[in-house]
Amino acid sequence: MSVISHGMARTSYETKGYFRSPDTVFFTFLFPMLMLGIFAAAFSSRGDISLAPASPDHVSVAAYYLPGMLAAGILLSGVQNLAVDIAGEKGDGTLKRLGGTPLSPVSYFLGKLGRVFVTAVLQAAMLIVVSKFAFGVALPTSWDAWATFAWVFVLGTVTSALLGIALSALPRSSRSATAVVVPIVLVLQFISGVYLQFSGLPEWMQNLASVFPLKWIAQGMRSVFLPDGFKMLEQHGSWDLGWVGVWLAVWLVVGLVVSRLTFRWIRRDA
């Protein structure tokens, strides 16, 4: 079907464009890697992070931050990248031009989704490989853990991409897009356990973060990469993978509905 094949053609076109934009590559693709490097370098001298003094459950700083950075990568590749990108395409006439061609809007979105997926996979692979070989992080060995990684990653990435499309309707102009989108994404990262240890945050902040999807992506990733004993530090003393799935699914539907309702090739007049 041409909607699908056009969507695949858009994916390769979009991915090519993405990697030819140095600022996008830096701020959405390499940024989590950079942050992981900084955290590992800054805090390694304090030694491993453990549940309690002399506890057998302890991990290196890099291992502790890896799940958070994977979650941040999913958020940046989807929400931040697409919201800024689509607002820009609205502003510079790219969307208007596409709207004058027989390209289906569905293919356009499949292309965006495809690009987010491809870049997020590469980003996660890079984070995991560098963590293992540069920082000596031990990776999970069970199939169960990798299966959890797979569904959290896929569900998180699709949700994040749809929310990015939805959020692109918010900036009034392409110039204000970065100013509108980046603070939202940044605040979410701080309250959702990406940069700051989630268990160390006050309860009201944890509850606030629980409304948004990033906290659940990060929690799902921690369940994959941290020793099982670390679940003691989670809000309910467990990984709550069921709730991870539910909350991400809810946000996926929200993103889909808002995207469907707000997207226009051009700003329609009355």
Binding site: H6, A9, R20, R97, G99, L103, A270
Partner: protein, 301 residues
């Protein structure tokens, strides 16, 4: 011009577009035959772009009937869009892609596209085929816009001020390209500020002023025969500038020479150009419009 609707690429009746209190298009009737090149002229803000964007399906109309290639643009499907080519007034930025990549990508959207290399050659960008669009000059980017609009082999091509910013040589090359498309049977709706362009490319033209079509016809006959009557201008004995419209300017000049007993000062015989005719139409429509407004204001509410 045929009156059979099947031979019409564009048929518009009583088109109106209002934005709140503002009336952008105030009732336009327009027919464009298949294969014809129609030039839409008019000052900025006269309703040209609004009209064209309604025909392209970008904007909804407030009232009236519109048929473009047999479909109502407000409810048109993707298959209908595949038969159009659109060159917008502003260029979309896709600077990261090369000319060839961009064209090959857009060609995929259409059921029966032209050969990408042929299109690149037609717009004269062979040497830039591997150059990223962002690195091209403004005129070259405009040619990419045209290439993207024709790659799908459109039946109807919209050109909204296509040559703004072109140097004279690039404009002539562009005109040649458009004439080739016309020879292939493409219907073209051109809006432009350049009257020489309208005269060169247009079979017929129309002038929009204040949301109304104040003149429609063959470009050489726009404004009617009266608008093309030559003008003889001279300065009389009191120093005032005089002018007289006459079908026999030579006679008048001889007569003036006799009356002055020598050369009249600053004597000129002016055969109105398309530009003069156009400006005459715009001014006449402008003064009529303001007269009409005065009448409306004078009436009790």
């Amino acid at each position: 011009m045929s009156t059979n609707p099947a031979d019409l690429a564009v048929r518009v009746r009583g088109l109106r577009k209002e934005y709140g209190d503002l009336t952008a298009v105030a009732g336009i009737d327009l027919d464009i035959a298949r294969g014809e090149t129609f030039a839409l002229l008019g000052p900025n803000g006269a309703g040209k772009s609004t009209t064209v964007e309604i025909l392209e399906g970008y904007r909804h109309r407030t009232a009236g009937e519109v048929s473009v290639l047999g479909s109502d643009p407000a409810h048109a499907r993707l298959g209908w869009k595949a038969r159009l080519g659109i060159v917008l007034q502003t260029t979309g930025e896709s600077g990261q892609y090369t000319v060839r990549e961009q064209l090959a990508h857009f060609a995929r959207f259409y059921p029966n596209p032209r050969n990408v290399e042929d299109v690149i050659a037609a717009v004269g960008l062979e040497k830039q085929a591997k150059t990223r669009i962002g690195k091209l000059s403004g005129g070259q980017q405009r040619r990419v816009d045209v290439a993207l609009a024709i790659v799908g082999r459109p039946e109807l091509l919209f050109l909204d001020e296509p040559t703004t910013g072109f140097d004279p040589e690039a404009r002539r090359e562009f005109w040649k390209l458009i004439e080739e498309l016309t020879a292939e049977g493409t219907t073209i709706l051109l809006t432009t500020h350049y009257l020489d362009e309208a005269a060169r490319l247009g079979d017929r033209g129309g002038v929009i002023v204040g949301g109304r079509l104040v003149a429609v016809g063959h470009i050489g006959e726009l404004g009617g025969a009266d608008a093309r009557v030559p003008v003889v201008r001279w300065r009389d004995e009191s120093g005032a500038l005089r002018e007289e419209r006459t079908q026999r300017p030579a006679e008048l000049v001889v007569d003036l020479g006799r009356r002055f007993g020598g050369e009249p000062r600053e004597l000129e015989v002016i055969r109105p150009s398309l530009e003069d005719v156009y400006l005459g139409l715009v001014h006449a429509a402008g003064s009529q419009a303001s007269a009409a407004e005065l009448v409306e204001e004078g009436e009790p509410a």
